[in-house]
């Protein structure tokens, strides 16, 4: 009970968790376009915007708007605070699973 409440509520929702996990897979110093991110998450644009706004308000993502020629482009990246929050979140999950579960559970399926 107490352990679950330690989980960051901004990240602890399936859609935002997937969003943050997707951005965490980028190399440091990289941004991903809104449309590509949408495809990688199978989310509707409206849904993605909603969750992005929540993460942006928490200071976890940075949304950059630019122009490629005349076409406006939006790019998204995890901030340092966002990466830190994500690392803490996964560390808390591993701790919740306990030392016994730590060996097998988070690993990839055989």
């Amino acid at each position: 009970m107490t352990a679950t409440s330690e989980l960051d509520p901004v990240i602890h929702a399936p859609a935002r968790l997937r969003l943050v996990a997707a951005l965490s897979a980028l190399s440091d110093g990289d941004r991903l376009s809104f449309t590509r991110l949408q495809k990688l998450l199978d989310m509707t644009g409206g849904n993605l915007s909603t969750h992005l706004r929540r993460l942006e308000d928490a200071g976890y993502v940075q949304v950059t708007k630019s122009h490629v020629g005349r076409t406006p482009a939006t790019h998204v990246a995890l901030t340092r605070a966002g990466r830190l929050a994500f690392d803490n979140y996964t560390a808390t999950l591993r701790a919740l699973l306990g030392p016994a579960a730590n060996e097998g559970a988070p690993e990839s399926p055989p």
Partner: protein, 223 residues
């Protein structure tokens, strides 16, 4: 921010779906999503090594059979030249298309790295062509020109793979580059027609072996 019209409805719908997950499920979800992004934005090494392996195997192989005096096939030099050119240009076009599709939408440091690295290949081969055209004007024979092209491009490929391995900390790429540079040197010492056989089998064949090894390793790791 993004001009959403129905954000309120989305919020409600989303909240219902967003019941907290169990720890193990959350970790599995993170893992799956990270894999998916990695698989879709990183170029597929199996495909690229496979592509270049086939191109070199066919192109350099044609040159070998055209220049080997005991060759069982009667391939004119011009045909071999066109075969090599078509193989290499096709591999280059397919590589560019594949990488462009994979990295679409990714902006930042890695796209700058990729751009510099792409230009390194272009400028490397342009400079090689200039060097060889300079040597050609001194009146050396066709065999020497062929040898220079083969060994020179093998060396450029080898060096750039080694540099790529250093930049992306990719041991396989580095080893393949070292192999390429060394067999090109050895092939040049062996001379015509052996250098073409070396580039075809050791070079192109080596790439196919690496592509196969990566495919096996990927399958074993379930990715």
């Amino acid at each position: 921010m993004f001009g959403t019209t129905s954000s309120e409805q989305n919020d409600t719908a989303q909240d219902a779906a967003d019941i907290p997950l169990a720890a193990a499920d959350s970790l599995a979800l993170i893992d799956a999503q990270q894999r998916r992004v990695g698989e879709q934005i990183e170029p597929d090494a199996r495909l690229l090594y496979g592509l270049w392996g086939v191109a070199l195997l066919i192109g350099e192989g044609a040159f070998f059979f055209a220049t080997w005096k005991d060759s069982p096939f009667d391939i004119p030099l011009a045909v071999a030249g066109v075969t090599l050119l078509v193989s290499l240009v096709s591999a280059m076009v397919l590589t560019s298309v594949h990488i462009a599709r994979r990295v679409a939408g990714v902006q930042g440091d890695s796209s700058r790295q990729g751009m510099f690295y792409g230009w390194t290949w272009m400028i490397g081969f342009l400079a090689l062509a200039a060097v060889i055209s300079g040597v050609t004007r001194t009146g050396v024979d066709e065999e020497t020109i062929g040898l220079l092209w083969a060994a020179g491009s093998g060396l450029v490929i080898g060096l750039l793979y080694m540099a790529g391995g250093a930049m992306w900390l990719d041991r396989t790429q580095f080893a393949l580059g070292a192999w390429f540079a060394l067999v090109s040197g050895a092939g040049a010492i062996a001379g015509t027609p052996w250098i073409y056989l070396v580039l075809s089998l050791a070079g192109g064949g080596g790439m196919l072996v690496v592509a196969g090894a990566i495919a096996v390793r990927t399958r074993q790791h379930g990715r």
